[in-house]
Every structure is written in C-alpha cells, then in structure tokens.
Symmetry: C2
Subunit: 324 residues, 2 copies
C-alpha cells in the first residue's frame, strides 16, 4: 500500500526512509571507514560514518535538503531563512540554491570567516547582526515578517528525519553494528540516529562536551534544562537540546557520555594520525567518548557518526597543539 | 577458463583485475565525490577518486598490498625493505604488518616527522641515512644483503598492477567518464591508471609540476630523460619516471600537462574550499591541470585521481598562504 502524502511527517523510521528517497539525488552517500590499527589501540571495532565528507562539510545538508524538498512537494514557494553561526547556514544555502531559492542567513558579526565564506560560496545571503541570541532571533523575525520561510536547525520534524538518513545508510553499509554513537548539540543528529537505531534493535549512545552537557543533565533530572552557559571548543554543540529532540532522546537514547576539552583535542589528533583528515571538535567528541570508556565498548562493534569538517586548519592546529 | 598462476605478472588489465581480487579484503574502496558548485566554476564535471582516504593516506597502499600478497601466494618468506621519504614507506609498513612481516624502511634523517611517525605507527622499522640518493641506495643494499626482499616504489610490475586498481574501481563507481587524469611522479599510479583506461576506451592525461616535468620532457624527446633537478613543493612527484612506467606512459597516455607552483597552491585551496579536505601538493596537480586547461576539458566528464593526504596541516597552511 502506498503511504498517503503527509503534510506534517512525524519523526520516525517511516519519515526517515521517505526523506532518504527524497534527498538521495542531492546528498552524497558518504563512506564508512575503519582502520584496524586504530581498532587495536581502542580494543573495539569502530566504523566511522563520514558525514564530514557530506556536501558543505557536515551532516546538516541532509536535514536542509529534506526540508527544502518538502517545500517543493508541498508547492510552497519562496525563499528560506535561518539564523546560524555554523554548518546549518551553509547547508541551507546549498539546498535552497539547488532548488532555485535563496537562503537568507542571519549570522553574528563575529562569525568565523571560513563559515561566512561557505554560506556565500553555496549561494546564501548573509544578514549580519550583533552576537547575541536576542539579535539573532530579531534578525530572523524580520526576515520571516518579510515573507521568508523559517527553517530551524534542529527542533523541526523535517530536519530530524533528514538527519536520520545518515544512520539509515550506515546500517545498510555496515551490518552487525551493536551500538551507534553520535554527538549531541541541539539534538537533530542524535534524535534522527536514535529513531533509526531503535528500529534496527541497536543501542544509541550520545556524546557531549562536559562544558555543554545540558542533555546529560536534562536526562538526569528527567526534564529539559532550560539554561546553560556553554563553555567548550566544540562550537557546533553549544546549543541547548531542542524540545522535540529531547523527547526523542529520552525515549530512545541509552545514555549520553561527557568528555573533557583535552579528551576532545586528543581525539582530533588521533583521527588525523590514523585517517589524515581534520575534523571539528564537535565531531571528535564521539571518538573521545569511545577512547574514554573501554568498560562500555571493549570488544564491541560500533558505528560512530563523524559530523563535520568545517574547521579552519589554523584553528585545528591551535586546538590540537600540545602547548596551547 | 581459469588463468594459470603467473609468477611474473605483466602490467595490464588482467594483472590489475587479479590484483584487485587479491587486495580487496585489505584496501578501502575509496569514495568518488563530485560537487556541482565546483563543476560550475570549472565548466566541466569532475569525479574525484579519493585515494587520499585510502589506508595510510595514499594510493600507495594498493601497490604495496599487491606486492605483499604476491609474496604470500608465491610462498616467499621474509621481511621486506625499501627506501622512501614518503608514502610508499608507510604503505609497505602496514601491508607487511597485516601479513605478519616487518618492513624495513630507509629514510633520510631530514624526513618530515609526520612521515617518520606514520611508518612507525603502521609497524615499520626505520633505518635513517644521509639525505642523498647514494646513501639511500646503499642503505637499501645493506638490507637486501641481510636477506630482506626489496619492494621498489613504482618501477615494478606488482606495484603498477596494484596502483591500477584505483582506476578499476573508479570506472565501476562512475560510468561514462571521458577522460581520466592522474599525477605523474615515478609513474606507478599513472601507468596503472592508463592500462585500465585504455581497456575501457577512455583517454588518460597526466599532470606534473613544471619543476619536475621530466615525463613531459621525456615524451617530447621520445626517450626517457635520465637527469632532472626537481624543484617543486609536490614532494611526492620529485622522482624520475621509472623505466617500465615510461614505456607504458608512451603507449597509453595522451599527454602530460604541467602546472606551476602557484597553480598547485591554488588547487589545494580550492579543494579545501569545496570539500573541506587537506590534500598534498602532489594530489593537487590534477585539479590544477583541470582548472588551467578549459580548452581541453570544458563540457567533459572527468575522473580525477586524488593521490594522497599525507601533509602536516602546518605545512598545508604555509604552502597555501597568500603571503608565503
């Protein structure tokens, strides 16, 4: 039986499968890589799903592509808008541009030049604002008032279903995984991942910097923490977990592990030593959590989602320098 | 009919197919990636075969794995030896170690710490020597006299067939390519690539730094140039083209394009801007040659082999800095 078109797809395995069909002509099916020499060091097998090799350098392009494709399916015309200091902005810029739309991205004046350049390269239009949450929201509100369609970065059904497609591919590419691990920021990636893993009977574990561990704290108190002053080099994970993201995490994520800043730096170095790729601190939390918890992972077969590579090489050096 | 085992496999499509069967359990099937936004800039479609994501960070692991697997098939026992200031050393170290052998690698004292570390990480034993060709060859001769089996980096049938497996995968992964382009150093990769492309009816083009353009010069004079003082940042392409490699290039490579140092630097920047990956100067010559020759490539569908990612991020920054 053909599923009827659903104007408000709920987050879940059906929506994620539909999302994958919808976006598979636009995204890259990113590779899954493993290195035996690293496995021997970690005493477990780790299969890395390389979303840092996704278009625009991050998994964010999946969610953005799904949201844009649904606008097209629903015949909703118009430009889109978001606020972002990071990867969602560039992802939305490219996804919109491939659909003949413009993406308007509110960015703080102090955003990194690399991220500003990426939004522009992929066709987005930047609206600078002061570096406060209030200014960012006000900037977005003006764009929405002007008729543009808001596409939020994580607390949104279409985004969650889009991000879940990475795990969908991972389980097809690498059968037999026992645990899948993803970073936790706003929660778009981990919630999509957990919905797929749950349908596969696989355990999901999250990884978070100790300096932005609002999700671990929320799980502990059984209620979403509403304020947290983030302090971490993992800039992609500083956001508070989203409302619907937290609901999914509570239902489907086994636990969220936390790692220190130095453990993140060491994982960035380790990934480079074994794979010759630079990854963002936000990506490295997963490898850091694996290295830190041999009691949980020894002898297991793990899937690890590597989320992004959008880091200026000079920043990578600064962050991984033993002196710095 | 089963092919009889061949103790001295000649370089060619049959040997390359056999090599692939032999090594496919050890190598990564590296991804092929494309970015429409970059295609629009270049006015052609470029499908990058990501051998810089191969184990040990370079295509060299293919040839080394094939050579080692053939030692095993031929029941030849013993450790292996080579001299290398670069990627062949680490590749041979890992391939040997996976077969329970030791690789002895003669390296110049001034080799980069990154390359020394890689050989050691993957299980190789380093023998330092002075930084001259004579000292390197003398070092290797001592190891061979001690009973170790020499595995040269490019001028060797098993190596050429191994390197050809990258193109074999490329044509399977991406049908419809019209031209394939690979860098030219000692000639292992380009000769294997050309043998596969020729069997597919596809044109092969080489790319070389102007400062190490011995192959272009050799083709021009119809005879292998035997001395050349290389002067290029593309350290992996400084070697003179090998004897049997040049024979294959003469027979199967349409032309070898040369690029300037600044064109190489610009291609390194460009690859990072669109793909967020750092590649070696030796890899970037291919993209540099594509960007430089719109007359040859506009409107065409190209396969480009990206050969390696073994560059210290600090060196990448130094080489791509607009000031430097």
């Amino acid at each position: 039986m053909q599923d009827p078109p659903d104007k408000n797809e709920v987050p879940g395995i059906i929506g994620i499968r539909r999302a994958h069909e919808r976006i598979c002509g636009f995204i890259r099916q990113t590779p899954v890589i493993n290195e035996q020499a690293l496995d021997e060091k970690l005493n477990c097998q780790v299969f890395f799903k390389c979303e840092h090799l996704q278009r625009t350098g991050a998994f964010k392009f999946r969610g953005a592509s799904n949201a844009i494709a649904l606008l097209r399916e629903r015949k909703t015309k118009g430009d889109v808008a978001t606020h972002s200091s990071g990867n969602h902005g560039a992802a939305l810029a490219l996804a919109a541009s491939l659909d003949g739309r413009k993406a308007h991205v509110v960015m703080p004046e102090n955003a990194s030049p690399v991220k500003i350049e990426a939004v522009q390269r992929f066709g987005g239009q930047i609206h600078f604002c002061e570096s406060t949450q209030a200014a960012r929201e006000a900037g977005l509100a003006r764009l929405v008032a002007a008729g543009h369609i808001p596409i939020p970065p994580y607390d949104h059904n279409d985004i969650i279903n889009g991000q879940g497609t990475a795990a969908l591919e991972l389980f097809q590419q690498q059968p037999g995984l026992e645990i899948v691990i993803a970073p936790v920021g706003g929660g778009g990636l981990i919630s999509g991942t957990a919905l797929v893993a749950s349908a596969e009977g696989v355990i999901t574990v999250g990884a978070e910097p100790a300096g932005a561990a609002d999700t671990a704290a929320s799980l502990k108190q059984g209620k979403r923490v509403e304020t947290w002053q983030p302090d971490t080099i993992a800039d992609g994970l500083r956001a508070l977990v989203g409302v619907r993201n937290f609901d999914i995490i509570q239902a489907h994520v086994e636990q969220v592990l936390t790692v220190s800043e130095e453990e993140i730096r060491e994982a960035m170095r380790l990934f480079w030593q074994y794979f010759r790729m630079l990854i963002e601190p936000s990506s490295a939390v997963v490898l850091a959590a694996i290295a830190k918890n041999p009691d949980l992972f020894t002898g297991r077969k793990l899937g690890a989602i590597v989320s992004g590579a959008n880091i200026d090489p000079a920043d990578w050096i600064r962050l991984t320098s033993k002196i710095g």
